[in-house]
């Protein structure tokens, strides 16, 4: 969620139950402002909170002008001091995916794995966050548009989805570089608007049904929750510009999803 509209966003996303305590909220507001200035980001998003056994990690992302460029990730333990997470390498990604279980809450904690590889928790946090972000960060259709020169911009004339559009999964896109777009048939591509439909839509996600879409507050708010990564909540108030997502959870994938549907 955008750091600029943090309070409203937290209020709207509160339907999932997990939010932030007032002191965290207050410190977030100030510290994110400073982060934006120091790192010169165009936009700072508060990504969410990963619950650890001892302490929680608060994660923020910084975006540059091009919305689809790789985002910088920052973490903090107390919402006041933020540190950049180091970029990940392939092997670290592979390693962290093997280590299962909850996060401790201590960035220097080392996981031991049977293959005698120690994985630093800091890296693991980063990996998880990247993985989750790639998997489930969402944007409503029309919020970003692509210019012919390449960079994607925030669409300032985005007025929100209409109610009927808001209930369909196809109006939401993954907030990342498209993966499946090229696999579409020409027939499908003919209906797409290249300036708006340049990301993967949610409706082809596997497994089908891994998103729960609900209207809350009597149709005034549409909430999408991911069932594959429980804890990811996306909210959007139809016909307004407010949308955002937040992740509050343990950082673990729900591998039992096929059994649970």
């Amino acid at each position: 969620m955008d750091a600029d509209s943090l309070l409203l966003s937290l209020e709207l996303a509160s339907g999932s139950g997990q939010g932030l305590s007032p002191d965290r909220r207050a410190s977030l507001l100030t510290s994110l402002m400073l982060v934006k200035r120091d790192y010169r980001y165009d936009r700072v998003l508060f990504w969410g909170r990963i619950l650890g056994l001892v302490a929680d990690y608060y994660i923020a992302q910084g975006l540059s002008e091009d919305q689809l460029a790789p985002r910088k990730t920052l973490y903090s333990l107390n919402c006041t001091e933020w540190s950049l997470l180091p970029p990940a390498t392939e092997e670290m990604v592979a390693q962290s995916s093997v280590v299962k279980g909850r996060f401790m809450g201590d960035p220097s904690y080392e996981y031991e794995h049977t293959e005698l590889q120690k994985v630093n928790e800091g890296d693991k946090v980063f990996e998880e966050e990247i993985v989750i972000d790639k998997a489930v960060a969402i944007i409503p259709r029309g919020a970003l548009f692509k210019t012919p020169f390449g960079p994607t911009h925030v669409n300032r004339t985005f007025e929100g989805l209409s109610l009927s559009e808001a209930k369909k999964l196809s109006s939401y896109f993954h907030f990342r570089e498209p993966v499946e777009l090229k696999n579409k048939t020409l027939l499908e591509k003919a209906d797409l608007d290249p300036s708006l439909d340049f990301m993967d839509s949610l409706e082809h996600d596997i497994p089908k049904g891994s998103w729960s879409i609900q209207m809350e507050r009597g149709n005034a708010l549409v909430v999408l929750r991911s069932l594959l990564w429980p804890g990811l909540t996306f909210y959007h108030a139809p016909r307004t510009k407010h949308y955002g997502y937040i992740y509050v959870g343990t950082g673990e994938k729900n591998m039992d999803l096929p059994f649970m549907l």
């Binding site: 932030l20 009597g218 149709n219 005034a220 591998m255 039992d256 059994f259 649970m260």
Partner: protein
């Protein structure tokens, strides 16, 4: 010639253009001035016959519609349009000012003046399809300003034909768009015909032609959408000038799209929005009813009664504390739930009520209230004792009359364990759920041990509809309401904790350790509870105790010995003898007794079962202790030393670090008991057969020998 006429024209122009004259017209008219007369004349000559049909100078404004529109555009029927201009054939003369013309295309087009100005200016009746009001004010402004600028840059050509067009201030649609050209034509015409006012203006020059061609192109309607670029651009510019967004050039394309979309939206206004907003209004109405319920009854008397015996907990206070912990729904949502709970307590005879939590579902969520009815007011529903656990043993009786007895099933279903009575064990509280505050509360049925046992083995999402079937293996006995109730029971048993000493056992008998019923059931609040330091609560888990009974693996809290009942039923039974395979003695299951500290809880693979935290590190003196369960993610408890509360919000499932594996079906039951009759044996090999035959023959021989001996003996006797 043109030079000579130009100053005159200028003067006249300025007069006429004082009002609503479009400069482009001047431009197009002016073009002939610049282009060579020779070249223009042949053009004009061409146009001559074209314009032949046009209104002549005599009656230049006689309405004629240009049925002939070579550049497309379905300008059809005649109407009282101003002298329609014929489109010129697109000539190949590009003119530099042509692009400049296009800029001005907008204001002229959008300019609509209804005031007939008979004199100078030619207010062009705006032949626009889409009548957007906003265009009227601004374009007028802009056109004027632009006109002014243009007057300086070019010499607009006044012509007597101007006044002619004045009278055609009507909103004729597409045809009028051609006014532009027609005017130019007529301008040129009147120049041809009426040399008087401005002298012979001169044939339309190449520039003018080009401009007119360009404009004609702009006015060309799209075959797909019925728009044309001219109108679209004018709309867009209008919108931009109205709204004045920042960096408009960067979002130009988006504005373009919006304008196009806006063209269509009005038609659907009446129909679409109604349907969409209906559910919103419904819910709002229901929630409004919540707010009004107080007023309907209220007088002072009622108020006192309410304050006196209030079964309602202070939800807002608990919500405040939970918010410190970072858990909870938003404030206004909580307030609505508060009101819904109040409604619940008003309609049912409830002694105590608590907001248990919220369970998320796929389509809808559940808001759960934990309720304790008043003594004696328990609403007992006549439930069908669904002791459907007993399989049908009657299948064995089916074909008994036949000679070959079919194998009888020796399977005897385990004795169904009866559910616990209300107010005891897992059914201590009654639970009500609703999907949203404002909707009616539904009571959940009491839980049966079998349901708990199976709920432990399956893991399913809730859909949000209470009557949804739960399709799983092992098959769940019940639908979603039963599953929900079972999960609620499990969560309560696993995560409802309180500070040590808050509750104590009621009677003294409880101190004797009797193993009969497996633990005390009753507890009550300790009036002498003095509170525990928050720090202590955070540091040590032994300061918290469970105050809900643990559920045994049987599915009940109090052990039920099914053996005794079995013996009773044997007398009625038609079973066979072999059922005695059941063990005669089942171990009594024992669970941790009530009020056990949670430090005794089992770990989950090296993960402690609870996480404790202070709500705030910055101001520790007012912080509260927060306890979050790792076993049931979403379960939370807080205490500030004196007060405590439990809450759950989540999907309703237990946490397990390993993946869920569904239980395997049991092995297939043996049909026939193994015995010699049906046991397969190998066919004898050749050697065995021969040996057997040899043995048989030997026996026969021996028998014969004996007979022969006997015969011989007999014969001897006879001798």
């Amino acid at each position: 010639m043109e030079d000579s006429t130009s100053p005159k024209q200028e003067k006249e122009n300025q007069e006429k253009l004082g009002e609503a004259r479009r400069s482009w017209e001047g431009k197009t008219a002016a073009s002939p001035q610049y282009s060579e007369p020779e070249s223009s004349e042949p053009l004009e000559a061409k146009q001559g016959p074209e314009t032949g049909r046009q209104s002549r100078s005599s009656r230049p404004w006689s309405p004629q519609s240009r049925a002939r529109t070579p550049l497309g555009g379905p300008a059809g029927p005649e109407t009282s349009s101003p002298a329609p201009l014929s489109r010129r054939e697109p000539s190949s003369t590009p003119s530099p000012p042509a692009p400049a013309r296009q800029d001005l295309a907008a204001p002229p087009q959008s300019h609509r003046t209804t005031s007939a100005i008979p004199e100078a200016g030619t207010p062009y009746p705006d032949p626009l399809e889409q009548s957007s009001d906003k265009r009227e004010s601004v374009p007028l402004h802009t056109s004027q300003s632009e006109r002014n600028t243009f007057q300086q840059s070019q010499q607009p050509k006044p012509h007597p034909c101007g006044p002619r067009d004045v009278s055609y201030n009507n909103a004729k649609q597409k045809e009028l768009r051609f006014d532009v050209f027609q005017e130019a034509d007529s301008n040129s015409d009147c120049d041809l015909q009426l040399p008087a006012p401005g002298g012979s203006e001169g044939a339309p020059s190449m520039l003018e032609t080009a401009i007119q061609n360009a404009k004609a192109y702009l006015l060309k309607t799209s075959s797909k959408s019925g728009f044309n670029l001219y109108d679209h651009l004018s709309n867009m510019l209008t919108k931009i000038l109205n709204e004045r967004p920042e960096n408009a050039v960067d979002i130009f394309e988006n504005i373009s799209q919006d304008v196009k979309m806006a063209h269509f939206s009005k038609k659907f206004d009446a129909l679409h929005n109604e349907n969409e907003m209906l559910p919103t209004y419904e819910i709002a109405e229901k929630q409004k009813a919540l707010f009004l319920q107080g007023h309907l009854e209220g007088v002072d008397q009622e108020l006192e009664d309410e304050i006196a015996e209030n079964a309602l907990p202070n939800v807002m206070e608990s919500a405040f504390y939970f918010e410190q912990a970072g858990v909870g729904l938003g404030t206004d949502e909580t307030y609505r739930i508060f009101l819904a709970l109040k409604q619940l307590t008003d309609t049912h005879p409830i002694q105590r009520c608590r907001f248990w939590g919220k369970i998320l579902g796929l389509e809808m969520n559940y808001i759960v209230a934990e309720v304790e009815f008043r003594e004696g007011e328990d609403e007992e529903e006549v439930e069908e004792e669904d002791v459907a656990e007993e399989r049908d043993n009657g299948e064995s009786e089916a074909d008994e009359d036949e000679e070959d007895e079919l194998p009888k099933s020796f399977y005897k279903a385990p004795q169904a364990i009866p559910k616990e009575e209300s107010r005891t064990g897992a059914n201590k509280y009654v639970y009500f759920v609703c999907n949203e505050p404002g909707r009616p509360w539904v009571k959940l049925p009491p839980v049966i041990p079998a349901q708990i046992v199976i709920a432990r083995k399956i893991k399913k999402f809730f859909t949000g509809r209470l009557d949804a079937p739960v399709i799983s293996y092992p098959p769940f006995p019940g639908n979603e309401s039963n599953y929900l109730r079972a999960q609620i029971a499990r969560i309560s048993a696993g995560t409802h904790v309180s500070p040590l000493g808050f509750y104590q056992f009621g009677e003294e008998e409880g101190e004797e350790e009797e193993e009969v019923e497996g633990g005390q059931n009753s507890f009550e609040e300790n009036p002498d509870f003095e509170g525990i330091q928050v720090i202590d609560l955070v540091e040590s888990l032994s300061n918290w105790v469970h105050h809900v009974q643990h559920i045994l693996s049987q599915g009940r809290c109090n052990w039920f010995n099914s053996i005794q009942k079995n013996e009773e039923e044997e007398e009625e039974g038609e079973e066979e003898d072999e059922e005695k395979e059941e063990p005669d003695y089942i171990e009594q299951e024992v669970g941790p007794p009530l009020l056990t500290p949670i430090s005794e809880d089992l770990e989950i693979q090296n993960i402690p079962p609870w996480t404790t935290r202070l709500s705030s590190n910055l101001i520790p003196q007012y912080a509260i202790a927060v306890l979050q369960s790792n076993l049931w993610p979403g379960a939370c408890a807080f205490s500030n030393g004196k007060k405590f509360e439990n809450f759950y919000i989540g999907w309703g499932h237990k946490y397990s670090p390993d993946n869920y594996t569904p239980p395997v079906p049991p092995p297939v039951y043996q049909e026939y008991p193994s015995g010699p009759e049906i046991t397969e044996m190998d066919d004898p090999s050749v050697e065995e057969e021969q040996a057997f035959r040899a043995a048989q023959e030997a026996v026969l021989l021996a028998a014969e020998n004996e007979e022969s001996e006997e015969d011989e003996d007999e014969e001897d006797d006879y001798d």
